[in-house]
Each structure stands twice: as structure tokens, then as C-alpha cells.
């Protein structure tokens, strides 16, 4: 009975209390329907947080799953469940928090407190004390914060002052019948005159109403101070905030508001008043002599002012030794400065102002030149107005000649210079104009290849076409260490020649060796001109690329001793350390030290001595003094200083042989050798011979060698 009529939960919102369809006309509605405004609002969870009037969270996670173990709002923190940092350990005990009255107050108490608050001025600033002039005593000035002795206090005490005394010089007073030097009394000090009055105006610091210039120009009330009077701001419509540039031509003349007028240096504030006094006056130092002169002159010229003693603007007389200078009078500027007047330079009579001749400095400006120029400038007839263009009598080439500028190749040349007479005739026939310039069959500078014929002119032209590189760049490319075109030696040679020509070590004409065309096409090693040009351009680009390695990169690479880079010098095996050597003889055939080494002629030819600077730390570690690099020929020095090792070896061998002789197996040979050696050692062991011996292939060194080392087996030599 109920079921069909009472519908409690409806998915459809109740828009009105009326049933949506006629089917439910007989149903009963319980409860108030949800207001229209609230029905469709779904607030996000974070908006639905419940907070009290102080912003603290309520319900403590009852609907959001908060875990508090009952500690919400009990430990004095906004979140409720995070206690304020309370730490107490055996070593560090927790401090007892002092409770303030605020801890016990609730909302109503706080409200009451706020109501009772009033904002008043502090005692020295309060209105009650404004009229009083506080007499500044020493104590007041020295008084710092209440209860604290100010620094001034302490300083004074250190200097011997005692509280109760005043400040000032010691005065002699009669105390107890004797004259004694006493400090002044506390109430009569040097600072008695200080008045602490309240400032109730808006003047700036240092404002003195006695000074006329400080007074506002429009006297609308002295107390007003610096604020401008209501009428003083200009009310011109074309200037002012909010108004644009209004061009009113009411004045007649065009007044440009943006016009930058020249700065007037003689404007003075409040100048209207001071003109009455006689213009701006300032203190200027004048020496005594000048002063006499000036005063004498001023007396003679300006009689009116002599009667009055000149005063400065504040009414005071100028300081002694100073003279008041009034601008505009004779006493200003020239009289006071020591400068003499110099006449301007005398202008030569031929000078015509306005001519600016830019010319080649090599050509002299002669009067004829000027006359020429003048002629060209002068108008042909006086009837012509200045604005009409001049009839140019001179052509461009004539003008350039006059000016002395470099004759450019193409300027001054016309097409007819390059034409043949036959061509000219044809032109004349076609156009009907016989007044053509004569044809000169010249050859231009940039003629095509077909016209080119062998000759000096062409070579020069060719050389002009060589792409240039900066000299420095060319020399760095040369020293790059790596030359490209490793596979084509001729090309590499040409590249090197190109670089050398660009760096200046070779004449550029060397490049032409390869450029001859024509019948030398068939000759091997010669290039046609186009190829030559192409190759040169390639070299130009390559020079930019192949530069010597710098810095860190250079450390990663070393070039091997021999020229060819394709051969590797060391081959490594897994198990052992192999050292394959490059064959120096094959790769560096021209080196004389290499050939000397191969022949076994070791000595000055194979030796290279250079200076080497050990670092100071290294010397320190070795216990050696840092050597000074003087420009001494080290090789000679060493040869002279050190005794020849040969001699030492002689001695050595002598000793050894003696030792051996002492042993059991002494052979006849050995003793013989000993004798021979003795003779030699005693004979004379000259040192200098080595230098020559290495060069000469004479028997003498051999003999010596044999004698020293006692080589009995000649066949053993397989050096």
C-alpha cells in the first residue's frame, strides 16, 4: 500500500515539489526539497575541509582517515598530531616552558584585550610635552636607554670626567680659600645654548629664514615653506601632465615645445630680486695687485658703486683679501685672469672659405690647380641662380686629374677604347651618329682566355688571379708538420711551393712554372691553366685546414722521426715487447749525421748539444744548483773541460790488465800489451785530436784505437 506511493530515494533531483510525470501524481513527498542553488554543486574534497574560526582543523580526519591516537589539538600545534619539538634525554634535559597569560586566554579574552588597546604617542612625542623646551643638560644628553650607561658616559669617565660635573675647560675657582682648577658646574656647560624644540614645519635641514634666497619666491606665508603656492605652477596648456604636445600657433612664431634651447648658464634662482642688488655676485679670489688695479679701474669707471660698499648677498662684507666680482662689469673675466689676449691667426689672402679639396697628398696644390678648380666652380653666367645645377666644364677624368687621384683603370675609359676601328664604323653606320669617339684597340685587364697570348702581360695577369692567403697563415700551414697529398708527391711539392710563395719565402712567379698552357700540355707535370687555377683554389682551402695541432691535441700525437708517416715504427706482440725500428738511412738520406752514424763515424757529426733547463724543483731534489744558461758554446766547453774518456779508459784498461796479469793465467800477449800501453800512456795523451779524426779517414786514429784496445784480431771488425 505504501510502497508504490511513498518514494523516499529518488535518483532524479526534485526540481519542484511537483511530480515530474503524471504517473506519480498521488505520491507523498517527505522532507524539504534541496534548494536549487545547492543541488548541482559538488565541491572537491579539499574545499570541504571543516575548519573553525581560528583556522584549526576540526573532525581530525574522521572522514579522511586521519590517525591521531587521540592527540588532536592537544599538543599545541596546528596539525594536532605533530607535537612541538620536545626533546629530553639523559644529557639534555627538556627546558620548562614558561607559561604566558596568552596560553590561558581564549577567544573572548583576546577580543577583550584588543578592544582595550589604544595607540598613543610615547612620552617625549606626546602632545602634552610639545610646548616645553627641554633644557639640555649633560645628563640628558648622556642618558642612554634607561638603566644602561651610555657609551658617552663611559668615554667621558675614561677621560677623567666625574658625574656631577659639567663639560668644558677647567676654570680657576676659589675653594676653601685656595685657587683650584675646577671643571664647570653641571648646569652651566658649553652646551647650554642647545635648545631642543620640536620641528613643526616642512623646511629642509639648514633652513634659515633670515637668508633671503631661502625664502620662497612667492611670499604666500613663510610657514608654508617649500610647497609651491597654488598659483605658481604654470598653467600653460601646452605643458603639464596629462596634456599632449599642443601646437598652438597663437603666438605667431612656431614655438616648438621640444626644442632644446641652449643652456643658459647665467640663470640664478630667485634672480628677480637679486638683479636689484646688482646681479649675481660670488666670492672670487684676487691677488693684491689685481685688487688695486681693479679698484682703481672700478673707481674710474663706475662712480655710482664706489660710494656703496659692496656686500655679498647675505649682507655681509666680503672677506679681507677678496673682491666682489659682479658679472657683466669690467671686473669680471678678463681683468681677473692673467691671460693675455692673443690676436687670431692672420689669414692668407688667397684663402677662400668653403673649399674642401680632398686630394692625393703627393700632388701639390698649386695656384694653377686652384685656378682650374675655381674656373670649374664659377657659374657660367651671373644670370643663373644659385640653385640651378652648374654647367660642368670639366669631365670626371679631368676633375680626377686635377685632384690628383689615382687614375683608375676603368674610369676614364670608354668602350671605344677597346673597340677596333672596324667595329666603330659599324656602330656609326647603325646608329647614324658619326660623332663617336675614336676607337683604340686596347686590350683590357680581364680579357678572356681566348685572347690571351703568351707574354709578360699575361703572366702578370695570371699571377693576379692566384688566390692569396695571409702570410702568417701560410707560414703556420707550412710548419704544420703534416703535409697533405701524401699519395701524390708532385702535388704536395706544388702545394708547398704555393705556401712558400704566400708566406714570402718564394717569389710568386715560381707558381707559373706549372701553368704554361699550349704546347706544354703534352709535357708531363705541367697543368693547363684552368686546372692550375683549380688546384690553387684547392691549396687555398687546404692551407686553412691543415694547421699545426695545438695544445692538448698536440700532446696526443707525435710525428715520427722519419718523413713518411705510413710506416709504423713499433709493432707490438701479445707476449713480448717488440721494437721495430724505422730504417733511418732510407727515409732520411740527406741527413749527414745519419750517414755518419751508419758509417760508424760517431763523434761531432752525430752529436747534438743543446741547452736544457731542469726545473728548480728537480734541481732541488737532485741536490744540484740550478744551472744558469749563459750563451756559451757548450759543446766546446764540454770537450775542453772533461778529460777524454779515452784516457780514462786507458787507465782503466791498464789497471784491469794489471789485475789480470796478477791472476794465474797470464799470457805473453797480455804482458806485451801492457808494455805497449805503458809506452803509449807515457808518450802523451793529447785530447784535441778527436775533432779532426772523426772527419778524416786516416790511419792515425785506427792505430791509436788498436793501440788502446789492443785488438789483435783484425778480422773481427764487422762494424
Amino acid at each position: 500500500m505504501f510502497a508504490d506511493s511513498v518514494k523516499m530515494s529518488r535518483k532524479r533531483p526534485f526540481s519542484t515539489a511537483q511530480p515530474a510525470s503524471t504517473n506519480e501524481a498521488d505520491s507523498i513527498f517527505l522532507g524539504t526539497p534541496i534548494a536549487e542553488a545547492d543541488q548541482n554543486t559538488f565541491a572537491p574534497v579539499w574545499k570541504q575541509e571543516a575548519r573553525d574560526e581560528r583556522g584549526r582543523k576540526r573532525f581530525h580526519g574522521a572522514f579522511t582517515g586521519g590517525f591521531s591516537a587521540g592527540y588532536f589539538n592537544t599538543v599545541g600545534s596546528k596539525d594536532g598530531w605533530t607535537p612541538s619539538t620536545f626533546k629530553s634525554s639523559r644529557t639534555e634535559r627538556a627546558e620548562r616552558k614558561a607559561l604566558r597569560p596568552e596560553d590561558f586566554m581564549d577567544e573572548e579574552d583576546f577580543a577583550e584585550q584588543r578592544a582595550d588597546e589604544r595607540l598613543v604617542a610615547a612620552a617625549p612625542f606626546s602632545a602634552a610635552t610639545s610646548s616645553k623646551v627641554v633644557e639640555a643638560g649633560v645628563q640628558d644628553i648622556l642618558r642612554g636607554a634607561p638603566g644602561v650607561e651610555s657609551v658617552g658616559y663611559e668615554l667621558l669617565k675614561k677621560m677623567g670626567w666625574k658625574p656631577g660635573f659639567g663639560i668644558g675647560a677647567l676654570r680657576s675657582q676659589v675653594v676653601a680659600g685656595r685657587k683650584v682648577m675646577m671643571p664647570p658646574r653641571a648646569d652651566e656647560t658649553a652646551m647650554s645654548g642647545v635648545r631642543l624644540t620640536r620641528k613643526n614645519n616642512t623646511h629642509g635641514l639648514g633652513y634659515d629664514s633670515n637668508v633671503p634666497s631661502m625664502r620662497p619666491s612667492d611670499e604666500t606665508g613663510g610657514a608654508r615653506g617649500a610647497w609651491p603656492a597654488p598659483g605658481s605652477i604654470s598653467t600653460k596648456k601646452n605643458s603639464g601632465i596629462g596634456v599632449g604636445v599642443v601646437n598652438e600657433y597663437d603666438d605667431g612664431d612656431e614655438e616648438d615645445p621640444y626644442e632644446i634651447k641652449p643652456i643658459a648658464y647665467d640663470r640664478v634662482l630667485g634672480s628677480k630680486k637679486h638683479k636689484a642688488l646688482g646681479g649675481a655676485s660670488k666670492h672670487t679670489f684676487v691677488s693684491k695687485n689685481r685688487a688695486k688695479l681693479v679698484s682703481a679701474s672700478s673707481i674710474s669707471t663706475t662712480t655710482t658703486t664706489t660710494s656703496k660698499l659692496k656686500r655679498c648677498y647675505d649682507g655681509r662684507l666680503p672677506l679681507s683679501g677678496f673682491l666682489l666680482v659682479i658679472s657683466g662689469s669690467l671686473t669680471s673675466s678678463s681683468m681677473l685672469t692673467n691671460e693675455k689676449e692673443y690676436a687670431p691667426p692672420s689669414i692668407p689672402e688667397t684663402y677662400i672659405p668653403g673649399i674642401l679639396i680632398m686630394h692625393d697628398p703627393k700632388t701639390l696644390i698649386t695656384p694653377e690647380l686652384i685656378a682650374d678648380f675655381e674656373k670649374s666652380r664659377k657659374p657660367s653666367s651671373s644670370l643663373q641662380s644659385s640653385s640651378a645645377p652648374h654647367q660642368e666644364r670639366l669631365s670626371a677624368s679631368e676633375r680626377s686629374r686635377i685632384l690628383g687621384s689615382a687614375q683608375d683603370h676603368l674610369q676614364g675609359k670608354s668602350v671605344f677604347d677597346y673597340m677596333t676601328p672596324a667595329q666603330r664604323e659599324r656602330l656609326a653606320k647603325v646608329t647614324g651618329n658619326q660623332q663617336l669617339p675614336p676607337a683604340k684597340s686596347e686590350v683590357g685587364p680581364s680579357s678572356t682566355q681566348s685572347e690571351r697570348n703568351s707574354g709578360e702581360r699575361n703572366e702578370a695577369a695570371l699571377l693576379e688571379l692566384v688566390p692569396t692567403i695571409d702570410k702568417h697563415q701560410a707560414s703556420t700551414a707550412l710548419s704544420a708538420g703534416f703535409m697533405p697529398y701524401a699519395d701524390d708527391n708532385e702535388k704536395r711539392v706544388r702545394y708547398i711551393i704555393y705556401l712558400e710563395s704566400q708566406s714570402g719565402t718564394r717569389p710568386v712567379s715560381d707558381l707559373l712554372v706549372f701553368s704554361k698552357s699550349g704546347d706544354s700540355d703534352t709535357a708531363p707535370g705541367k697543368l693547363k691553366v684552368e686546372d692550375w687555377m683549380r688546384e690553387l683554389k684547392e691549396f687555398n682551402k687546404a692551407a686553412g685546414l691543415f694547421r699545426p695541432l695545438k695544445g692538448m691535441l698536440a700532446n696526443r700525437f707525435t710525428s715520427s722521426a722519419n718523413a713518411s708517416t705510413t710506416k709504423t715504427s713499433v709493432v707490438e706482440d701479445e707476449n713480448t715487447v717488440l721494437f721495430h725500428g724505422a730504417d733511418l738511412k732510407k727515409d732520411l738520406p740527406d741527413r749527414e749525421d745519419v750517414s755518419a752514424a751508419k758509417m760508424g763515424m760517431y763523434g761531432p757529426l752525430t752529436r747534438r748539444v743543446s741547452t736544457w733547463a731542469p726545473s728548480s724543483l728537480l734541481c732541488k731534489r737532485f741536490g744540484v744548483r740550478v744551472p744558469n744558461m749563459s750563451a756559451v758554446d757548450v759543446s766546446i766547453a764540454s770537450a775542453e773541460l772533461k778529460p777524454s774518456a779515452r784516457d780514462r779508459l786507458e787507465l782503466l784498461s791498464h789497471n784491469k790488465l794489471l789485475n789480470i796479469a796478477k791472476d794465474a793465467d797470464v799470457s805473453e800477449e797480455v804482458t806485451k800489451r801492457l808494455e805497449v800501453q805503458n809506452v803509449n800512456a807515457g808518450g802523451g795523451s793529447k785530447i784535441n785530436a778527436e775533432v779532426n779524426e772523426a772527419l778524416e779517414q786516416t790511419k792515425a786514429p785506427r792505430d791509436l784505437f788498436l793501440a788502446v784496445f789492443g785488438d789483435s784480431d783484425v778480422e773481427d771488425e764487422n762494424v
Binding site: 700532446n555 722521426a561 784496445f709 762494424v719
Partner: protein, 299 residues
């Protein structure tokens, strides 16, 4: 003194793979050897017993040098790093890196304050052991090719390079002497009196060069040395010149006569990479690429 020709004990075979370097300490009591297996072994030559092994290298060990007080030694190798070891503790005190390729040779100066290292990258770096700086004190860059060997003698640094030059850097004089030998130099040894230098080159010749004027005083040949770095040394106060060879024999020449006085076979007829002579008594130790190390004595 007679030449040690007898191999009393069996060769030491602790190393796996070629042994690149073998050296005595300053007293001759111990021998240090380093090889392809990245190990450095300290052992007693008289008993042929292994004392200690030092393992830290990442790549093969190419050279070892012992300090004057025998308390530390320095080693270098394929991992481009120089290791400074403490002998007793067996650990690396310091490591120096900076070379860009394998380090072929290393040596101390007289008081072990500077280490010189020469590398395949053609540079010699001089390291400071006293400070904790990571950068070398100085860099010697004159060589054009791999530095194969070097030695510090007094205030001179002698380097030999594959570019065929022997360079003597004299700190006292502030000068560099470059002697062109003409062939890749694989081994350098200074004579006891400091007047000459024994230079092994890849043309199967050993030359005795005069340091003062660069002339050749003597040359020794008969051995084979065309490909491998084979070290040579003096023996018995510079009486003998000893070198390994690629034909599996140790050659000993009389320095004055340049005659081959001994040819000792060993190491399985393989390349003998290094020989070292005892500082005091007639004893010699050699190593080869078969991994064996042999001690040679007299009688």
C-alpha cells in the same frame, strides 16, 4: 774474476709467460723480477726460493728499479701507471699516472726522491715522491719515438729511444746531449766511472759510447737482436759486457778486447730478455720469454 757460468739450481718458474725484467737489489741479496703475468716476485737467488710476490699491476710489468736503501722499489708496465712499492709491507705506497701509453722504463735517483719514467708515448716524466702531487715535476719531450730505456746516474738522466738517439740530460750543466746511434736503442747502461754508456741497438750490435764527445769506443756483436728489447749490462766492475740474445744464448764479451768470452745456453733456446749482474760477487741472473729465471754462479 771469473765469469759465472754455472747454473747450479734449476731455473725459477714462478712466472707465467715472458719475464720482462730482472734486477738485483743494491746488496745483491735479493732479486726482483717482473713479467707478463703482472706479478712482481722478490726472491732469494742463492736459495732460489720465493720470498714475496707483489700483485697490483693491471697489465704486464716492464721495468723495476730498487731504491738505494732497498726499502722500496718502483715498477711500471702496460697499464701506464708507475707503482711505488714498500718492500716489507708488499703494498703500493703511491701510484703515478699520466703517461698516455705503456711505460717502458723506470728508475730512481740517488736518494729516491725522484722517479723517472719513459714511455711508448715518447715522453719521460719525472715524478716527485716527496710531495703528494699528481703531476710530474718535469716532462722531457725531445724524443720522437718510444722511450725504451732510461737510467739516472748522479745528476744525469740518460734515455734511449727507438728514434735512434741516446739523450743525456745533465742537470748540473743544464744541457742536453743527443747522440745519434742510427738504430733503435733498446738498452742503456752507464759504466761504473760514468764516462761511457753501453748502448744496445736493434742491429745486433752493442756500442760503448763516450759520453764526453759522443764517439764510439767499442762495439760488441755476435748476438742476435733485431726485434726484441734485450737488456745488456756490465759485469764485474765493467770487465765484461753481458747481453741476452734472441737465439737463446747469453753472450759475454770482454770489454777491452770485444771478444765473445762466453756463450751460455739457457731458457729453452728462447729470447733472453734481461740479464743482471750481482753488485758484489760473480753471480748473474737472467730471464727469458719462456718464463724462467736462471741464476748463474762461478763453479
Amino acid at each position: 774474476m771469473p765469469f759465472p757460468v754455472y747454473s747450479r739450481n734449476a731455473p725459477l718458474k714462478e712466472h707465467v709467460g715472458p719475464v720482462h725484467v730482472v734486477t738485483y737489489n743494491t746488496t745483491g741479496q735479493y732479486v726482483l723480477s717482473g713479467g707478463q703475468d703482472r706479478k712482481i716476485i722478490l726472491w732469494n737467488p742463492n736459495s732460489s726460493k720465493l720470498v714475496k710476490s707483489y700483485i697490483a699491476h693491471g697489465y704486464e710489468v716492464l721495468d723495476i728499479a730498487v731504491s738505494y736503501d732497498n726499502s722500496k722499489f718502483v715498477s711500471c708496465g702496460g697499464d701506464r701507471t708507475i707503482y711505488l712499492w714498500d718492500v716489507t709491507s708488499g703494498s703500493t705506497t703511491r701510484r703515478f699516472s699520466g703517461h698516455m701509453s705503456r711505460v717502458n722504463a723506470v728508475d730512481f735517483n740517488a736518494d729516491a726522491s725522484v722517479i723517472a719514467s719513459g714511455s711508448y708515448d715518447a715522453k719521460v716524466r719525472l715524478w716527485d715522491t716527496k710531495s703528494s702531487s699528481q703531476r710530474p715535476i718535469q716532462l722531457l719531450e725531445e724524443a720522437k719515438d718510444s722511450i725504451s730505456t732510461l737510467q739516472i746516474v748522479g745528476s744525469q738522466i740518460i734515455t734511449g729511444s727507438v728514434d735512434g738517439y741516446v739523450r743525456v740530460y745533465d742537470l748540473r750543466m743544464g744541457q742536453l746531449c743527443e747522440d745519434l746511434i742510427g738504430y733503435p736503442v733498446t738498452s742503456i747502461k752507464d759504466s761504473t766511472d760514468g764516462a761511457c754508456v753501453l748502448v744496445s741497438t736493434l742491429d745486433s750490435t752493442i756500442r760503448l759510447m763516450d759520453k764526453s764527445n759522443g764517439t764510439m769506443l767499442q762495439s760488441f756483436s755476435g748476438h742476435l737482436n733485431k726485434e726484441y728489447r734485450i737488456r745488456s749490462c756490465f759485469g764485474d766492475n765493467d770487465v765484461y759486457v753481458i747481453s741476452g740474445s734472441e737465439d737463446g744464448k747469453i753472450y759475454a764479451w770482454d770489454m777491452l778486447s770485444r771478444r765473445v768470452v762466453h756463450e751460455l745456453k739457457g731458457h729453452g733456446e728462447k729470447v733472453i730478455s734481461c740479464v743482471a749482474y750481482h753488485p758484489k760477487k760473480p753471480q748473474m741472473v737472467s730471464c727469458g720469454i719462456d718464463g724462467s729465471i736462471q741464476v748463474w754462479d762461478c763453479s
